[in-house]
């Protein structure tokens, strides 16, 4: 294919990179809002992967459909997550996961 054409591997590599950035962000950052954003980045990397594979496999657009479902579910997840973060912030006035240490044995 031409340089500007569709090459599956490029999308797979890009998606894997985005997913890894998201995963590392989730593991190293201590601000829960940024951790939530990292999870969203991971989900979007998955969307990219699904859409790229869908182009390769063709057929009944399962990959594209899957991506739409993920977008919708990710929105619901973000809503619940932000609500939990908000209720935590109201009680502790902090959004740092390091300070979430009330529960220890």
């Amino acid at each position: 294919m031409s340089a500007l054409g569709y090459v599956l591997e490029h999308y797979v590599v890009l998606s894997a990179l985005l997913f890894t950035i998201g995963a590392i962000g989730f593991l190293v950052r201590r601000n829960v809002l940024i951790q939530l954003m990292s999870i969203e980045l991971m989900l979007n990397a998955i969307n990219l992967l699904l859409v790229a594979y869908n182009r390769q496999h063709g057929g009944p657009m399962t990959g594209q459909l899957f991506a739409f479902f993920i977008i919708a579910v990710a929105a619901a997840e973000a809503a619940v997550g932000l609500a939990i973060i908000l209720s935590y912030y109201r009680l502790k006035a902090s959004v740092h996961s390091d300070e979430a240490d009330a529960l220890k044995h």
Binding site: A23, M42, T62, L65, F69, A76, L91, S97, L103
Partner: protein
């Protein structure tokens, strides 16, 4: 045709419909003036009515369990119309058995919540629609035969439970919800990336189709095979998070301890049961290829390691806890380890799938009962948390202590309780599958586990409370008492007459090719 589908899926449909009705009842019902939160902060119509709404939710879930029984007796295979839902929902005997267990566990948790929320003036009646919606997700998850359905069902179940954990407006409850939410979503994302890679490697999203495509790829050593392996690892990690197997258990003690106790009970029984059901189906159908189920190049050694780690670590740490609730959290991790032994055994023993189902049922009634007894032993401001709180409770409140002892003995696996036969059949399946090392490790761990269960009984019966200590005063609640009676009857019935249930579990298989 339509009748078959509606009747077959009736457990799922009834619970979903019940959840919608309860939401309406909660929003439009008449508030109970006596039950309004004393802080005046919340004045939604559901406040003060946790008891009656809990009763409603429990009835809906028990009806769901009864309908599962009805579908079982009619035979899901005879309901021809159920073919329509394939491959999205695979409504076989395996699914129906799990649905029964889920509805039972959910119903018991709702009864517990009916008493607990009123007593502790949490009184947020949205607890019950959340439990029902989560149960719908859990049932769909157990039935899921396709990746997209699996993902949506998993999130339906999890989102409800995240909210349940954070229901109580205290720093501990919020913190538990935060930790559970972050790690749960992270695990779901990992699993989803695995699912996307599987779709890429095979072009299919239904588990059976993936299984066939993997069998076709399996011979070569090309990039396709490597991609399948990466996907397998990611999916197993995601599932291990959900069943809280060591080393993916970090969130479990915190989330279980911080959550309101009925929510803990629900997480321990329903979420774990559904996660095990989907784990068995995914591993045996999608990754059921000969190479991937072999000891040399597949998932069995990985799961065996998880099983050994879960049993050993959880049992050792559980003995060192000072909070009984946290001890029960570690105990649930250990029980995930025993069930994982049975999952490994499925590779060579046809009876192993049945043993998992039977084990999950016995675990559900014992665990829900144990958390229920812990709820019963405390009342507002005088909750039973540590071992010391329970000291000498047998003299003051013999009934509560006796109920607690029964469930702890069942968890420890002492005959003639349900827990004994649950463990027995798991280890029998493991021996059938020639997994001798796993069996021995499991048996040794059961002995270690008995230590911390018996320790609670020793405290209840043989210790006196320290002078001047705040005594835990058991609460009075018909809801909690009835949940305990149901659980106790089942623990004893499954322990004395396990045969029928076991025969049923034995014919409930996922139908691998």
């Amino acid at each position: 045709m339509t009748f078959d589908v509606v009747y077959g899926l009736s457990p799922l449909l009834v619970v979903a419909l019940g959840a919608l009705l309860l939401m309406l009842a909660e929003a439009f019902g008449k508030p109970n003036p006596q039950g309004l939160a004393p802080t005046g902060e919340v004045s939604d119509a559901g406040a003060g009515r946790a008891g009656e709404l809990g009763m409603g939710a429990a009835v809906v879930l028990f009806v769901g369990a009864a309908l599962s029984l009805g579908v079982w007796l009619a035979g899901p295979d005879n309901l021809v119309g159920l073919e329509l839902t394939r491959p999205y929902l695979i409504w076989d005997r395996f699914t129906v058995f799990v649905c029964f267990t889920l509805c039972l566990g959910g119903g018991l948790s709702c009864l517990l919540a009916g008493g607990y929320l009123t007593e502790h003036e949490i009184d947020r009646a949205e607890f019950f629609p959340l439990v029902l919606f989560s149960t719908v997700g859990a049932m769909a998850l157990a039935a899921a035969g396709e990746l997209l359905t699996l993902f949506v069902a998993l999130e339906t179940m999890s989102l409800g439970v995240y909210a349940l954990v954070g229901l109580r407006r205290t720093p501990r409850s919020s913190e538990a919800a935060l930790k559970y939410f972050l790690l749960g979503s992270f695990a779901a994302a990992l699993m989803l990336f695995g699912a996307a890679l599987l779709y890429g490697a095979t072009g299919r999203t239904d588990l059976a189709g993936i299984g066939q495509a993997i069998a076709a790829i399996g011979q070569g050593e090309g990039p396709g095979a490597a991609q399948v392996l990466i996907a397998l690892v990611l999916v197993v990690v995601g599932l291990a998070f959900k069943v809280s197997a060591v080393p993916f258990h970090m969130w479990t003690p915190d989330a279980y301890e911080g959550a309101p106790t009925p929510a803990t009970s629900y997480m321990a029984v329903a979420v774990k049961t559904a996660a095990f059901a989907v784990m068995v189906r995914v591993l045996l159908i999608a990754f059921g290829d000969e190479r991937l189920t072999s000891w040399a190049s597949g998932w069995p050694p990985v799961l065996a390691t998880l099983a050994v780690a879960s049993m050993t670590v959880a049992n050792l740490v559980a003995g060192r806890q000072s909070s009984v609730k946290r001890m029960l959290a570690y105990s649930s991790i250990a029980h995930a380890g025993y069930a994982l032994v049975a999952v490994v055994a499925t590779i060579r023993s046809p009876a192993a799938e049945g043993s998992i189902l039977f084990y999950l049922l016995t675990y559900t009634v014992s665990t829900a009962g144990a958390f229920g007894a812990l709820i019963l032993c405390g009342s507002r401001g005088k909750e039973a948390v540590s071992y010391e709180d329970l000291a000498g409770i047998a003299k003051r409140h013999p009934a509560a202590a006796m109920a607690f002892s029964l469930f702890l003995l069942s968890l420890a696996g002492v005959p003639p309780t349900a827990g004994f036969f649950g463990k027995l059949y798991v280890f029998q399946a493991a021996i059938d599958a020639e997994l001798y090392v796993l069996t021995v490790v499991g048996l040794l761990n059961s002995l270690v586990g008995a230590y911390y269960y018996l320790r609670v009984i020793v405290f209840m019966y043989m210790r006196e409370p320290a002078p001047g200590a705040t005594l835990a005063v058991p609460m009075r609640s018909g809801y909690v008492a009835s949940a305990l009676v149901i659980a106790a009857v089942l623990v004893i019935a499954l322990g004395v007459l396990p045969n029928v249930t076991l025969e049923w579990a034995a014919i409930a298989t996922v139908g691998r090719s």
